[in-house]
């Protein structure tokens, strides 16, 4: 066992580091090779998109050309067309507004809920939940199958629910607790959007809100709430209870404690959650496709629509992809420090 570093056998020397903070030659070469290879895998497609955005039709069709100035003369035609002549700015601003607003809303509402679920004990009577679900089903059947006016159906159901609450619901012991509520909230994420999108479409149609930013914001908020609850619950659970209790003894209300003590303490986690939800909404395609048209169209839909009868015009497409990536990268750059740490805490306990 007494190898001195210099006299180690060749194989050992190749595979085992000589010292603590160093790497042996072969693992080192292999590591760098693998990392550079993956860097290439990541960067090359992006590079190709960037380069293509500087081409015009003939550069693409007679290509492939790889390096601007050497292979071909880069031109800003595509950029010029997409940014100035085509209506790109509208969807771009829509995307920015919708994704920022809905992400912040989801973060706020979701964090409030998960904080309450972590810190305050809930007891909801199972009978009340079942009654509620039954009444909703009843309303839907009445409206859909028997053409009852929906205002009337909802009013009747609300009255019945109030009646149920004050009478037989009280007699039942069985109740759902915090974990059940939390599980219910999180499990909503499993639902594929395609299941929900049709009824949501019909709902907004009835409200005359199709193709508005509001519809999209509301929907995205709903779709992303489960993720926010899932990720933030462990951040809140990790705060020492003493801090909040001492604030409460000092006379702060629960809301105040939430906004002034709890939220600032979990900002890393919130930043990571914000980033993830922002990416998901910024890139969301299916719901936007259903719920928007000309007015509230977002970027993914615009990108997808580039598949014209002549086939996609790569140079235009590339411009769109580039301007879509840019802002997210900037935001991620600002939040980079928090992201890994935040994601970790959320994922540790799930």
């Amino acid at each position: 066992m007494s190898h001195s570093p210099d006299t180690r056998p060749l194989l050992t020397r190749l595979f085992e580091p000589a010292r603590l903070d160093s790497m042996a030659p072969i693992p080192k070469i292999a590591t760098y090779a693998a990392l550079f290879f993956w860097t290439l895998v990541v960067v090359f497609p992006l590079y190709w998109v960037l380069v293509t955005s500087l081409k015009v039709e003939v550069d693409v069709d007679s290509g492939p050309f790889y390096v601007p100035f050497l292979d071909f003369m880069p031109k800003l035609d595509a950029w010029d067309f997409m940014l100035l002549q085509n209506n790109t700015l509208g969807p771009y601003l829509n995307s920015i507004f919708v994704s920022l607003t809905s992400t912040l809303l989801a973060l706020l509402i979701g964090a409030l809920a998960s904080y309450a679920l972590v810190r305050i004990r809930f007891q909801v009577k199972l009978a009340a939940v079942l009654t509620f679900v039954l009444l909703v089903v009843g309303v839907i059947v009445a409206v859909a199958a028997f053409d009852a006016p929906w205002q009337l159906a909802v009013a009747v159901a609300a009255a019945l629910f109030a009646l149920a609450l004050s009478t037989f619901v009280k007699r039942f012991r069985a109740a759902v607790g915090n974990n059940d509520i939390e599980f219910w909230m999180i499990s909503n994420r499993i639902m594929p959007p395609i299941v929900a999108v049709l009824p949501i479409y019909v709902m907004f149609q009835h409200l005359h809100m199709l193709d508005t930013q509001f519809a999209l914001i509301a929907t995205y908020t709903g779709v992303n709430l489960p993720i926010v609850v899932w990720l933030t619950r462990d951040f809140f659970a990790g705060i020492p209870l003493d801090l909040e209790e001492s604030a409460e003894i000092d006379g702060a209300s629960k809301f105040r404690v939430f906004f002034t003590i709890a939220l600032p303490l979990v900002r890393s986690g919130l930043a990571a959650t914000f980033m993830l939800v922002l990416i998901l909404t910024w890139n969301e395609f299916l719901l936007a496709l259903f719920l928007t048209n000309a007015n509230a169209q977002t970027m993914p839909v615009l990108v997808a629509a580039q598949n014209t009868t002549r086939g996609p015009q790569w140079w235009y497409m590339s411009v769109l992809i580039v301007i879509m990536i840019a802002p997210v990268i900037v935001i991620a750059g600002f939040l980079q420090k928090h992201i890994a740490r935040g994601l970790l805490v959320g994922a540790v306990k799930g």
Partner: protein, 349 residues
């Protein structure tokens, strides 16, 4: 086996954490590295273990220079402060791990684990997982895992600091006994001077990465090498009075007494341990002042007096009962006086 540190330096970036540490630990010796928090003890220990590279200097285990040798080839075992038990392995698997990775035959592992587990009284808990054990039991698992290898040296980083006071006392005795039985060189890091005094053959006192004194507990206590050591060891700490020495006679405001020394020096510090002093009537002892505070400690009373500009604490009888502010005298034997140079802090008598 012998462990030697040769002028070890360690820097993290620009921060010098260990500055020229020389240490020689004899075979079978129990050496305690003592120091305040942040003094570089852990760093020193980790460099012996090979978990931290040294910036300059040499580490020797036995006669072998292991400065650049990987931890696994150093043949030392370490007990971590957090115990570092593997949570997904049973106690048995945890203790057996060092042998398992060396591909020791099953039967032999079994026999050795049983033997070691018996020594640390874990034989009935071998099937449990770490989370099913109490703090003291976990500590013993960590110990057993170190013992099973019969290493050249044991390294322990505050192994008892996570235990409650009672258990700590018990485990201290156990550790000492075990180390004596096994006869394996042990380097033990702690910030607790009681642990250091009770466990060590020799204590190495570290401050800001510099070795202050390396000696037996008795010598560290009785003949502290400098002001820092004198102030660090002992509870309550030694009393210090600034003054001057002329031909062995110490003078300061409100104090004037002879010492066993014969030196003359303008600026010195005289130190007297609280238990070496006793209260007398005013002007009957070597010092005179007023009572500042009294604290009943149970079997004795601590009397703190203001003497000149200094504060002096002495142990008195538990029946001592005098008003704060009353005049009082303090006396002690000439042999109980420690003298230090004020500028260098070095002992001069």
């Amino acid at each position: 086996m012998r462990v030697r540190l040769d002028n070890i330096h360690k820097a993290f970036g620009h921060v010098q954490v260990v500055k020229g540490l020389d240490l020689e630990v004899a075979d079978g010796e129990f050496l305690v590295l003592l120091g305040a928090s942040g003094s570089g003890k852990t760093t020193a220990l980790r460099m012996i273990a090979g978990l931290e590279s040294v910036t300059s200097g040499r580490v020797l285990i036995g006669d072998r220079d292991v400065t650049d040798v990987l931890p696994k080839y150093r043949d030392v075992a370490m007990v971590f402060q957090s115990y570092a038990l593997y949570p997904h392995m049973t106690v048995f698997a945890n203790i057996a791990y060092p042998l398992t990775v060396r591909k020791t035959p099953k039967a032999e592992i079994e026999a050795q684990v049983k033997e070691v587990a018996r020594q640390v009284q874990l034989d009935t808990l071998l099937d449990r997982f770490p989370k099913q054990l109490s703090g003291g039991q976990r500590q013993r698992v960590a110990l057993a895992r170190a013992m099973i290898r019969r290493p050249a040296a044991f390294l322990m980083d505050e192994p008892l600091s996570n235990l409650d006071a009672k258990l700590r006392g018990y485990m201290r005795a156990e550790l000492k006994h075990m180390q004596h039985q096994l006869g394996i060189t042990t380097i033990y890091v702690t910030h607790d001077q009681i642990e250091a005094m009770t466990l060590a053959h020799r204590v190495a006192l570290l401050e800001k990465g510099v070795l202050q004194q390396l000696d037996t507990p008795a010598n560290i206590y009785n003949r502290p090498a400098n002001l820092f050591v004198a102030g660090f060891i002992g509870s309550p700490p030694m009393n210090f009075i600034d003054g001057s020495l002329s031909a062995g006679r110490f003078t300061a405001p409100d104090s004037d007494f002879g010492t066993l020394s014969t030196i003359t020096r303008a600026s010195v510090v005289a130190g007297v341990r609280p238990e070496d002093g006793r209260v007398t009537e005013p002007h009957a002892g070597k010092l005179t002042g007023t009572i500042y505070a009294t604290e009943l400690m149970g079997d004795h009373t601590l009397v703190t007096c203001r003497i000149g500009g200094a504060t002096v604490t002495v142990k008195a009888d538990k029946a001592f009962n005098r008003q704060d502010g009353a005049a009082i005298g303090v006396d002690f034997a000439e042999s109980a006086v420690h003298l230090f140079d004020k500028a260098t802090g070095e002992r001069i008598n």
